[in-house]
Structure formats: C-alpha cells, structure tokens
C-alpha cells in the first residue's frame, strides 16, 4: 500500500507538468496579450516604452524560456507577482481561498448529508409516492438553471420579503460586530448560495446512494442477514449502507477540485469574494502569473482528490488492495 501511494505521488509529477505546459501555451497563444490589451489603446505610450514594459515583465523572451522561468520559480513555491497590482500571487489566492472553501465545504456537506438521507429512504420505500416525489424534486434541482433560480430567490427572499441579505459574504457593519454576531452574519449570507449549489448537486448523490442501497438490499448477504435474525436497523445501517456508500467515495473524490476552483457564476451573482472571480478577472486582464497560480492549484487538488478517493476505496473495500 505504501509503495502504491509513493508511486502514485511520483506519477502526479509528469501529469502536473503536462497540465502547466498546456495551460501556459494556451494562455500565451491567446490573441491579445497582457501588454497589448492593457497598454496599446493608450496613445500616449510609445512603441519604445512598450518594448521596455515587455522586457520588464519578461514577456520579450520566447515562450519556452518564459515557461522555464515560471517553472523554476514554481518548484520553489514562488508563483510570482500579479501583473495588475504587483502583489504576490500566493497572497492573492490565500486571501480568496477561505471564502471559497467556506461556501463549497458547507454545500458539499449539505449535498452528501441530505443526498445520503434521501437516497437511503428512497431505497427503503422504493416505488412509493415518497420515492417518486424525491426523484422529481432532485431532478428539478439538477436541471434547473442555477443562475435563474439564484435571481428568483434573491428577488423573493431579499427584495420582496427581506429575510436574507442579497449578496456578499458580510454586512456593511461587519467590523463592528461581536464574534457571535459575525458568525450569525456570515451564516445568513451563506443560506442562499449554499441552498442553490446544494440543490443542484443533490440529484447525483441521492441517485448513487439509492441505487447502491437497492442493490445491497437485494443481495444474498442481506437475505442471509435477515435469516440470522439481526435487527433490521443493523441490517440497513451497518451491513447494507456500507456497501451502498462505495460509489459515493468516487463522487467525493471528484468533488474535491470544485472546493478550490469555485464557481464564477455563483460568485458573480452573489458578489462572493472567492477564487472563481479571481481567476476570471485574471483571465480578462491577461494576468499570467495569477492564471497559472489558480490553475496549478486547482490541478494539484484534482490529482490529490483522485488519489485520496482511490486510497479510501481500498480502506473501505477489502477486496481492493493496490500493489
């Protein structure tokens, strides 16, 4: 097992390098470019100073040399400085990370908590009205355009009946609040974004859990467990549930990158100060170091998430032992 993990970690290196090469090429081959987009429209800048500017940012060198520059800094965990405000990329990312993590972890917990409950109960009462209603509700959530639902909810709960704040993560007077008030304030701001992101993801998890549970309940080991005279509670929540949660581990592994990536649409609608907007703004201004920084971190997390899912598979299911 340990050798397997070490091998997987080593294998992550070429994959990560590949991702950075491709991203770097795409970003630099995009028409426009940092200097042109930000300076060329300005008639006061002479071609000469444009050239100086390019040299200043290191953009006058060939692309492959620029990449090697970036790479040599990256292996020292130096993501460089933002072109737009000259602050370290790492600092900009770390400043946005908590907001994204807070929103996404909360909604992930909600998705997996309620998804599991809905999945298990639907499996136990399969083909009942309850099961059908839950299927309909989760599919409505899955197929409804989230940005539209977000706007409708904002209109309903922030404008018509103002019970929740419209957007943002904190109120205007946040700095003057006591600690408990601050927690309450953030919680109130979280309600709508979490509801909307969780509502859409519910269908996935509940379907997976339900089909896993239905399968587990129709297996012979479940009949055998009844034949042993075990209490039904033990059979469902110990014997069958563990089997039905196996596919959920894969889903959880696949959801990890979303934790850091953030969602540009939600963050824009709810004015949420997260990673999604940082990456979007960086892309619009050709802020190369920030783009590379956010992409690399998202890639790292995706790879780690996959590895974690594979490892936890082996921990839960004894039939899988990696060599």
């Amino acid at each position: 097992m340990r050798r397997y993990i070490i091998r997987r970690l080593l294998l992550m290196i070429p994959v990560l390098l590949g991702i950075t090469v491709i991203t770097f090429c795409i970003v630099h081959l995009t028409p426009g470019g940092f200097v042109r987009v930000n300076m060329e429209m300005n008639t006061k800048i002479s071609p000469d100073s444009m050239q100086k500017l390019k040299a200043l940012y290191g953009l006058d060198k060939p692309v492959h040399l620029q990449y090697l520059d970036w790479l040599s800094r990256f292996v020292r965990f130096d993501f460089g400085h933002s072109f737009t405000d000259n602050r370290p990329v790492l600092e900009k990312v770390l400043e946005r990370l908590p907001a994204t993590l807070l929103l996404n972890i909360t909604s992930l917990v909600m998705i997996f908590f309620f998804g599991t409950i809905i999945g298990v109960t639907s499996a136990l009462k399969r083909n009942s009205p309850y099961d059908r209603i839950m299927t309909a509700v989760t599919f409505v959530g899955y197929s409804m355009p989230a940005f539209w639902l977000a706007l409708v909810m904002m209109m309903a709960f922030a404008v018509k009946w103002p019970v929740l704040p419209v957007s943002g993560m904190t109120s205007m007077n946040f700095d003057m609040m006591s600690a408990t008030e601050k927690v309450w304030d953030i919680a109130r701001h979280l309600v709508m974004p979490v509801f909307i992101t969780a509502f859409g993801g519910l269908a996935y998890v509940s379907r997976y859990v339900k089909s896993g549970m239905v399968e587990a309940l129709t297996q012979q080991y479940t009949t055998a467990a009844y034949a042993k005279g075990l209490p039904e509670r033990d059979i469902i929540f110990r014997n069958a549930l563990k089997n039905s949660l196996l596919p959920v581990i894969t889903l959880l592994g696949l959801s990890l990158p979303g934790l850091i990536g953030g969602s540009f649409i939600f963050e824009t609608i709810f004015a949420w100060p997260g990673m999604g907007r940082l990456a979007y703004d960086a892309a619009m201004t050709f802020d190369y170091p920030v783009i590379m920084g956010t992409v690399t971190m998202a890639a790292l997390l995706t790879l780690t998430g996959n590895l974690l899912a594979d490892i936890s598979y082996a921990l839960v299911d004894p039939r899988i032992r990696y060599k």
């Binding site: 012979q220 055998a224 009844y226 042993k228 005279g229 075990l230 033990d234 563990k242």
Partner: protein
Amino acid sequence: MNAIKVKDLNVTYRLDRGERLYAIRGIDLSVEQGESVAIAGESGCGKTTLAHALLNLLARNSEPSGSVVIDGEEVLGRSNRELEKVRGVKAGMIFQDPGASLNPLFTVKEQVEETLKVHLRIMNKDELEDKGLKLLEEAGIADNRRVYGSYPHQLSGGLQQRVMTAIALSCGPKILIADEPTTALDVTVQAQIVSMLIRLKRERGLTLVLITHDLHLACMLCKRIIVMYAGQIVEDGEVNSAEDARHPYTRALFEIIPDISFKKEFKVIPGSVPDLKKVENKCSYCDRCPNAAQKCREEAPGLTDGVRCWYPYEVKR
C-alpha cells in the same frame, strides 16, 4: 411436537403488468423433531420459494398465505422484529452461493460476532472471540484463527460455506434449512460439506431441511424425500431409487442421474417445467408424462397416500 408444520401454503409473486406467478400452490408439510427431509425438484418448481417461506424471507413482491409454524411459532404475517426470535434462534439457514451470502466488507469475526451479540447478548470481547473460534472449529475449520480475521473473498468456497454454517448454528437453533448448500462448490468440496452436515446433524440432533436438485445428495443425507413439481408436492416418502418411486416424475428424476461407467444411456426428461402464470385444472406433469391418460388432462390429482398422481406405480414397501 413438530419442528416444522406448514399448512395450506400458497405463495404468488406479483409481476409487471398485473401478471401473477403461482410459485407455491397448497403445500402441507410436517417435519418431526430430529428428522431429515430433502426437498427435491427441477429449477423453477418452487423449492427455494418454499425454503424462504419457512423463515418468511420472501421477496417484496410476494404474497404468501396459509400457515408456517416453526417450533411452535407462527412465521407468516409476522414483522421482521417479531421474527428476530425465530430466525437464527429456532432455525438457521445456509444458502446456495456462500460467497454471496457473506457481506464482502466485513471480516468473518465481525459477521460471527454480530449474531452472538444480538441473540446471546455476549458483550465481553474475549468471550465473543473464544465462542466464535470454537464455532469455526466445530464447523471443521482447522486454522480457525486465520479464517477468523479474514475477509470472505480471501476464503475458498468450502471455507465460506463452513463459515456460513457456523454462523447459522451459532445461537444453537435446532433446525437447519440448507438451500442448495453444495451447488456452487466443486465435487470434492461438496463431499466435505456433506460429511460436515452429517456430523453436525448427529452431534446437535438437528432437524435438517435440505433443498436440492441433486437426488443423489438428498439420499445421502435424508431418508424422507419430498419431490416438488410446479409448486406442489408430487411425492412424499422414503424413496431411495427409481424402483421406490411411485410418481413418474420422481422415477424420471432418478433415471436421469448419470452413471459413472457410461454404460447407461444419458437420459433427460423431455419438455420443461410448465408456466406457473396460469393454473389449469389438470395434472401439471401430464405434458411430459409417459403414462398420461385422458383423465390426467381433465382433472388435477390430489395428494393421496404421499403421491399426487392418478396412476402411480405399484411399489412393494
């Protein structure tokens, strides 16, 4: 008192589009304490449904009626909660595919001990382990310590069936229902499992209900053979060879056992089990029976004197 008493048992399955399948049709059966009974027949004749009905383990789409009494306790129409006192305590059960009847995600230890905790209320760790290891030893597992810590997939089919038997008998039931216990195993392992069952039957004075399609195995373990066809009992008695059989179906089942010397011609029963979705008033075997007469196609025979046939063979008993 009878260990098992089944009265007028009917089981129908609800299928799609409102169809019904009459899997068990009016079975009466009583088994004495300590007796061994084999229930034999082809696939699809209702053997497994009967076995499952004995502990009320039927599928969700089934509708049982009648009465099944296990050691004085009515089983049908009872909730799972009420049945906890019967299942595993009064009667244990082992299944066809031992690999599929053990939960793949739990060790043998966990699966043995969970039953002990529920029924015998043993909570002490060491006591549980001692009892569990002893049970495996009784089921003929020599290296019980290794097996105890293993997961089911790490064990051979024979060991898995021994573990299943140990679990089924862990809380001291007097009845063992074995649903095709050796079908999924290879021949040498089959013999070992059979001798284990014979030994356990003797040591514990078990009442054994053996479900099988293998008449050879049935005769090894039981004197009394019950032959089922199309959801009904067609013959019930001490039958050990084709010459003892009074029903033509029983006789045919004995005759198709292949002879190891290959001197005998390899025989089959022509045709197949009838469609149980419709029930007609005629002998259900008449389409395949060599002796079928006009009466067989016009009226269904009843079970008289242990045989359900209008023209049974005469047998000297």
